[in-house]
């Protein structure tokens, strides 16, 4: 073994890599927002009175959850132009991340809604709470509390998945790293460094979500 590590290309590329972290955050935030919209919409449609709509939502969830994200992003990447939508790789990646995360969000949110018993709502109304109060205090907050841990760990996973968007060369950390790597051939140094970047990103996210959880979702201590 006579290989000396050389981090010069990594240090020279540091500004570009740090900027690319913002790209990763952008993809992640866009994907999460879309996932929440699809998740809530999907849960509503899943209880639709029209049977085919219910089947469609179920099929969507199963298909997305049982196929690789890489295949999904390729499919969407090639399907959008055929549907007449011309988008850059980065918005395409956000759509793919949102669709993928949305399927998981539907399952998670559904579990949260189901966890609120009908008796709870009836009890709230019997206590003379207003309908809006019942929704806010008895349905929304406990449901959010129930789904928060699994939803946020799904979001951390979604953030890590943004690296796969490099396959369609969306602007994010991995694709910028691949550019630096192909210029310098310092593969291990480049990928080792950004692996640490991802570790920091996911750690910060977990800390952030945990702080929200203790601030808003811990049971009042009295």
């Amino acid at each position: 073994m006579n290989y000396t590590l050389d981090f010069t290309p990594v240090i020279e590329g540091m500004p570009a890599l740090l900027m690319a972290c913002l790209g990763t955050f952008g993809l992640a935030l866009g994907g999460m927002a879309l996932a929440i919209v699809i998740g809530v919409g999907g849960v509503v449609l899943r209880d639709s009175k029209v049977a085919p709509v219910r089947w469609l939502v179920k099929a969507f969830v199963e298909v997305i959850r049982n196929t690789p994200f890489l295949v999904q992003i390729f499919f969407i990447y090639f399907a959008l132009p055929l549907a007449g939508v011309r988008l850059d790789p980065t918005p395409t990646a956000i759509i793919a991340l949102g669709i993928n995360g949305g399927a998981y969000a539907i399952e998670i949110i559904r579990g949260g809604v189901q966890s609120i018993g009908k008796g709870q709502i009836e009890a709230g109304l019997a206590l003379g709470l207003h309908k809006a109060q019942v929704f806010r205090l008895i349905v929304l907050k406990p449901a959010l509390r129930a789904i928060f841990p699994s939803l946020t760990s799904q979001f951390v996973l979604l953030t890590l998945t943004t690296s796969v968007a490099s396959a369609i060369s969306a602007y994010e950390l991995t694709s910028v790293a691949q550019r630096i790597e192909s210029d310098s051939f310092r593969s291990f140094e480049v990928y080792g460094t950004i692996t640490l970047f991802y570790l920091v990103i996911s750690w910060v996210m977990m800390r952030f979500f945990a702080a929200i959880s203790t601030r808003y979702f811990s049971y009042p201590v009295k």
Binding site: M1, Y3, E62, V63, R65, N66, T67, P68, F69, L70, V71, Q72, F74, F75, F78, A79, L82, L160, T161, T162, S163, V164, S166, A167, T174, S187, F188, Y191, G192, I194, T195, Y198, L199, S202, W203, M206
Partner: protein
């Protein structure tokens, strides 16, 4: 798409299955060691394995594959792409399975350990005959869920340059210029592989929930 292209996709599918099996078995062996080390009561060992798990759960699988792939070449190991990728998936799976099985070992009621100790069962038999049989039952739905995760994850080997199903799809799609058809078929093949497992996993989960009631 002709039958030649479809056969090429099936060859890719074969490598996807093989890679998943090797990753799952390798990850299972190391994962069990990690789960046991994580619950052994030795502070340093528990710290190290907790760090190992956090490292793999906090970084993208794609980066893990890159680092292992180029890292092995760096220490002078001239390995086949197939071996390098298999090592990458083994490490990845060992961290996730280790964490799943740690949870199930800890989910076995404490009284079981205490009773086994009271019968002066040695650690090996306490684990082998008392704790693990119960832990495996508890862990089965999550383990199968991870297997599905792993099968889907093997698609990332395509980016490293290993010709499994997704990369086979890429190659065929570049030849016949019908990406939607090709990736539709590729997706369907993955679905046929993963869906029965997912159904079986949720079936076990429901049964376990009824048993726990």
């Amino acid at each position: 798409m002709g039958s030649n292209e479809f056969l090429f996709l099936l060859t890719g599918l074969k490598w996807t299955v093989l890679l998943s099996i090797v990753g799952f078995i390798g990850g299972g062996v190391f994962g069990l060691a990690i789960a046991l080390a994580r619950t052994c009561g030795h502070a340093l060992l528990e710290r190290i394995t907790a760090g190992y798990i956090a490292l793999f759960q906090g970084t993208p699988l794609l980066m893990q594959l890159f680092v292992v792939y180029y890292g092995l070449a760096l220490v002078g190991l001239k390995l086949d792409a197939w071996v390098a990728v298999a090592i990458g998936f083994t490490l990845h799976a060992s961290a996730y399975l280790g964490e799943i099985w740690r949870g199930s070992i800890e989910a076995v009621p404490k009284g079981q350990t205490e009773a086994a100790k009271a019968l002066s069962l040695h650690y090996v038999w306490r684990m082998k005959d008392v704790i693990l049989p119960q832990a495996i039952r508890i862990s089965l739905p999550a383990t199968i869920g991870f297997l599905v995760q792993l099968i889907k994850g093997t698609s990332l080997a395509a980016i490293v340059g290993f010709t499994e199903l997704t990369r086979a799809g890429n190659i065929v799609s570049n030849q016949i210029f019908q990406p939607l058809l090709v990736f539709g078929i590729v997706g369907a093949l993955y679905f046929l592989l993963c869906w029965p497992l997912s159904l079986y996993g949720s079936h076990l989960e429901r049964r376990l929930a009824i048993a726990a009631r």
